[in-house]
C-alpha cells in the first residue's frame, strides 16, 4: 500500500498576500475580495497576486515568493537540498515571459518571431539552477489539474525511494492568452463569482504560486500529510467531465488513501463556477455519500488559478484547517435544483485530525482528487 508523505515546508502567494497566515482573515470572513479589471478585449476581472510588473517578471517573482519560504521552512542541509527533486505543475508555464517579449515588440511596431527559445521544461530548469537543486526535474502540464498531478507524482517518487525530498511547485501568472482564451469560450463570470449558485455565470481567473517540500518523514513539520490520490482521464468531452467519471476518480482517490468516504470531515471542491463543472461535480458529490460532508469552493477568494490551483488551494485549505475551519464558499445564495447540493455558506469547524478530499479537474477530462490528512 502506498504511504502518506509529509509537508515539511510551505510557501504561498495569492491576491490575499504571501504566506499561509495571510490567507486566513479573508478565508474566515467568507467574503471574496474585489477583483481588478484587466485590459483585455472585454475588460475582464482578474485577481492579481502582484500589483504591478510585466508578465515575464511577475512569473519568477511569484515563484520566488513561494519557493523561498518553503525551502527555508524545510531547513534542508546542503547535500539534501542538492539532491532534492523538483516537480512543477503549471498550465501557463513560461508563456507569460514569451507573451511579454512578443507584445512589447509588437507595440513598438516590430514584427517579432513569437516564442523564441521554447521549452516546457525551461521554467523548472531555471528554478533548479536558482535554488541549487540537482535532483530530477519534471514539469507536468495537464491544464487545471497540473499541480495536483505534480503532488501525486512527488508522493510516488518518495514512496518508491527515488527521492528523500521533493519540492513541488504550482504557478500561474497573469497572461492575456489565458484571459482572452477563457473569454472566447464564454466561461468568464459576468458578475460575482458564485460557484454552485443557481445563477452562477462562470469563473474569474487569478494568479499565484505555491510550493511545498514533501518528505517521507514528518520531522518538525506541521502534521499535514498527502495521504493519497488518483488521476484519471474522462474522454467524454474536452471541456467538461461526466459525473460518473468525477465520482470514479474521487472513489479511487479514497481507496488509494485507505480512507472511507464516511471518514471525511470535509471536501474542497473544484467548484469553478461554470454551469457545466458545478453541475457535474455537484451531481458526483451528491452520489458520493449521504449525508455529504461539508464542502466548499475556494476559487472566489483568489480566482481560478488554473494549473496552480492544486497547490494553491491545498495550502489555502491547510491554512484554514490549521485555524480549525473549512472556509465558506463566497457568492452562494440560491440552491441550484439541478444540482441539489449546498456548499458551506459559513465557516465550518474542522476537527484537528481527519481527512479532506480535494478535487481538481482540467480540460481534456484530466480529473484528479487528493486526500489530505492531519
Amino acid at each position: 500500500m502506498r504511504q502518506p508523505v509529509y509537508v515539511t515546508g510551505t510557501g504561498l502567494v495569492t491576491c490575499l498576500g504571501s504566506g499561509l497566515a495571510a490567507q486566513v482573515p479573508v478565508l474566515r470572513s467568507g467574503l471574496a475580495p474585489k477583483a481588478r479589471t484587466v485590459k483585455t478585449t472585454e475588460g475582464h476581472a482578474f485577481y492579481h497576486a502582484i500589483a504591478s510588473g510585466d508578465s515575464g517578471d511577475r512569473l519568477y517573482a511569484l515563484l520566488e515568493r513561494a519557493i523561498v519560504p518553503a525551502l527555508q521552512a524545510a531547513a534542508l542541509d546542503e547535500q539534501a537540498l542538492r539532491r532534492t527533486a523538483l516537480v512543477v505543475g503549471s498550465s501557463c508555464l513560461d508563456l507569460p515571459v514569451h507573451e511579454s517579449i512578443y507584445l512589447s515588440a509588437v507595440d513598438k511596431g516590430e514584427s517579432p518571431t513569437p516564442i523564441v527559445g521554447p521549452g516546457y521544461g525551461t521554467m523548472a530548469a531555471n528554478l533548479a539552477r536558482q535554488f541549487g537543486l540537482e535532483g530530477p526535474q519534471y514539469t507536468l502540464s495537464t491544464a487545471c489539474s497540473s499541480s495536483a498531478n505534480a503532488l501525486l507524482h512527488a508522493r510516488l517518487m518518495l514512496n518508491a525511494g527515488l527521492a528523500d525530498h521533493v519540492l513541488v511547485v504550482g504557478v500561474e501568472a497573469y497572461n492575456r492568452v489565458s484571459v482572452e482564451g477563457f473569454g472566447a469560450l464564454l466561461l468568464l463570470a459576468r458578475g460575482e463569482y458564485s460557484p454552485f449558485d443557481k445563477d452562477r455565470t462562470g469563473l474569474i481567473l487569478g494568479e499565484g504560486a505555491a510550493a511545498v517540500v514533501l518528505a517521507r518523514t514528518a520531522g518538525h513539520a506541521p502534521p499535514v500529510m498527502l495521504y493519497g490520490g488518483a488521476s484519471a482521464c474522462d474522454s467524454s468531452s474536452p471541456t467538461s467531465s461526466h459525473p460518473d467519471r468525477i465520482l470514479a476518480v474521487m472513489e479511487r482517490a479514497l481507496a488509494d488513501a485507505g480512507v472511507g468516504v464516511s471518514e471525511l470531515i470535509g471536501i474542497k471542491a473544484h467548484g469553478t463556477g461554470t454551469v457545466s463543472n458545478d453541475q457535474a461535480e455537484g451531481d458526483a458529490l451528491r452520489r458520493l455519500h449521504a449525508p455529504l460532508p461539508p464542502f466548499t469552493s475556494l476559487k472566489p477568494y483568489v480566482g481560478h488559478t488554473l494549473g496552480a490551483c492544486g497547490m494553491i488551494e491545498l495550502l489555502m485549505l491547510v491554512a484554514a484547517w490549521g485555524e480549525g475551519f473549512l472556509p465558506a464558499t463566497p457568492g452562494f445564495s440560491a440552491i441550484d435544483p439541478g444540482i441539489g447540493v449546498v456548499p458551506a455558506t459559513s465557516a465550518v469547524p474542522l476537527a484537528n485530525r481527519g481527512a479532506v478530499l480535494c478535487n481538481f479537474f482540467g480540460f481534456g477530462g484530466n480529473n484528479t482528487s487528493l486526500v489530505v490528512a492531519r
Binding site: P114, I115, Y138, L156, A184, C233
Partner: protein, 281 residues
C-alpha cells in the same frame, strides 16, 4: 519492484519538415479511421505514432497515457500570441487545443482508456522523465514523445537557435508497456540518473550489459562516453534542440529492430547523465 518494464510494442513516426506544413490527415486516417477532427498538429502526430504502436489491438482501460514533449503545443501558442498581438480574439478551439494534454485526451477517447493521462516535460531527459512518471503510477501505459514543427521554417529555426539550413524533424515515438504482458518483445531494464561523470563511470563499471551492446548517445562526446563506459559507441553525437525525441527515437528503433542489448546514454546541460537499458525478450 519497478524494473524490468515489459514492452509489448513500439513504433515511431518521423518526417522531415518541408517548406510548408504537410497535411497529416491521410496518415492519421490510415491508422485510425475514426480520427477526431479539429485537433491540433501535436495531437495528430501523437495519434499517428500511438496508433501505429497499438496497431488495432485492445488495451485495458486502466492503461495510462504519458506524453513527453520539449516544445509542446507550439503552433497553438504561436497562433494565440499572434491573435492577441493583432488585437483579434483567439479562436476557441485554438485555446482548447493549447492544453498539451489534449493529445492524451484524444488518444484515450479513441482507445477507450480511463486512467492517468499526463504530459511531462524536462529541459533534459524528457523521454526518460516520462518513463519515470509512467512507471511509478501505472502497471501498464503508453508512453510517447512528440515534437511538432511550426511554420514558416525560417522562424522555427530562429526559434530553436538553428542555422537556416538545419533540417527539422517532426516526430512521434511510442512504447506500449504492460507489466502483465505474457509475450513482451523487449524490456526496459533500467532508467538511471547520474549527477556527474564519476557517478556514471562508477555505476557502469559494474553494469552487466554485454560489451557488444548497441549504444546510442545524445548530447555527449563519444570519446568521453567510451572512456567512461568502455562500451563501443558511435563516433557522432548530434546535438539536437529536441534531445527528448532523439533518445525516444533511438529507444524505439532499438526495440523495433530487436536489438539484443541496447543502452541509451544522454547527457544533460549541467553535466548530469541518464542511461536507459533495453534488452530484447
Amino acid at each position: 519492484m519497478i524494473f524490468p518494464l515489459p514492452i509489448v510494442a513500439a513504433s515511431g513516426f518521423v518526417q522531415l519538415a518541408g517548406d510548408t506544413a504537410a497535411s497529416l490527415r491521410d496518415e492519421l486516417r490510415s491508422v485510425t479511421p475514426n480520427a477526431p477532427r479539429r485537433i491540433n498538429r501535436l495531437a495528430e502526430l501523437g495519434l499517428i505514432g500511438a496508433h501505429r504502436c497499438v496497431a488495432g489491438r485492445d488495451l485495458t482501460d486502466d492503461t495510462a497515457v504519458v506524453v513527453a514533449t520539449t516544445t509542446g503545443c507550439l503552433n497553438d501558442s504561436v497562433q494565440l500570441l499572434r491573435a492577441i498581438g493583432d488585437r483579434r480574439p483567439p479562436m476557441p478551439m485554438d485555446f482548447i487545443n493549447v492544453s498539451s494534454n489534449m493529445t492524451g485526451f484524444h488518444l484515450a477517447a479513441g482507445l477507450r482508456l480511463h486512467s492517468s493521462n499526463q504530459v511531462v516535460a524536462s529541459a533534459d531527459f524528457a523521454w526518460e522523465a516520462a518513463i519515470e512518471v509512467a512507471m511509478l503510477g501505472s502497471r501498464r501505459f503508453l508512453v510517447g514523445a512528440i515534437e511538432e514543427c511550426t511554420w514558416p521554417l525560417a522562424q522555427q529555426r530562429e526559434r530553436l537557435g538553428l542555422s537556416q539550413d538545419a533540417p527539422i524533424l517532426e516526430s512521434s515515438q511510442w512504447l506500449w508497456v504492460d507489466r502483465d504482458a505474457t509475450s513482451p518483445i523487449a524490456r526496459i531494464d533500467s532508467v538511471k540518473r547520474f549527477q556527474n561523470d564519476a557517478e556514471l563511470a562508477g555505476d557502469l563499471s559494474s553494469a552487466s550489459w554485454p560489451r557488444d551492446s548497441e549504444v546510442s548517445i545524445h548530447n555527449a562526446d563519444a570519446a568521453i562516453v567510451r572512456a567512461l563506459t568502455g562500451l563501443t559507441v558511435p563516433t557522432a553525437s548530434t546535438p539536437s534542440p529536441h534531445s527528448g525525441i532523439d533518445a525516444a527515437a533511438a529507444c524505439i528503433a532499438a526495440v523495433t529492430r530487436r536489438a539484443r542489448s541496447f543502452v541509451c546514454i544522454s547527457r544533460g546541460r549541467t553535466g548530469q547523465w541518464c542511461v536507459t537499458a533495453i534488452t530484447a525478450a
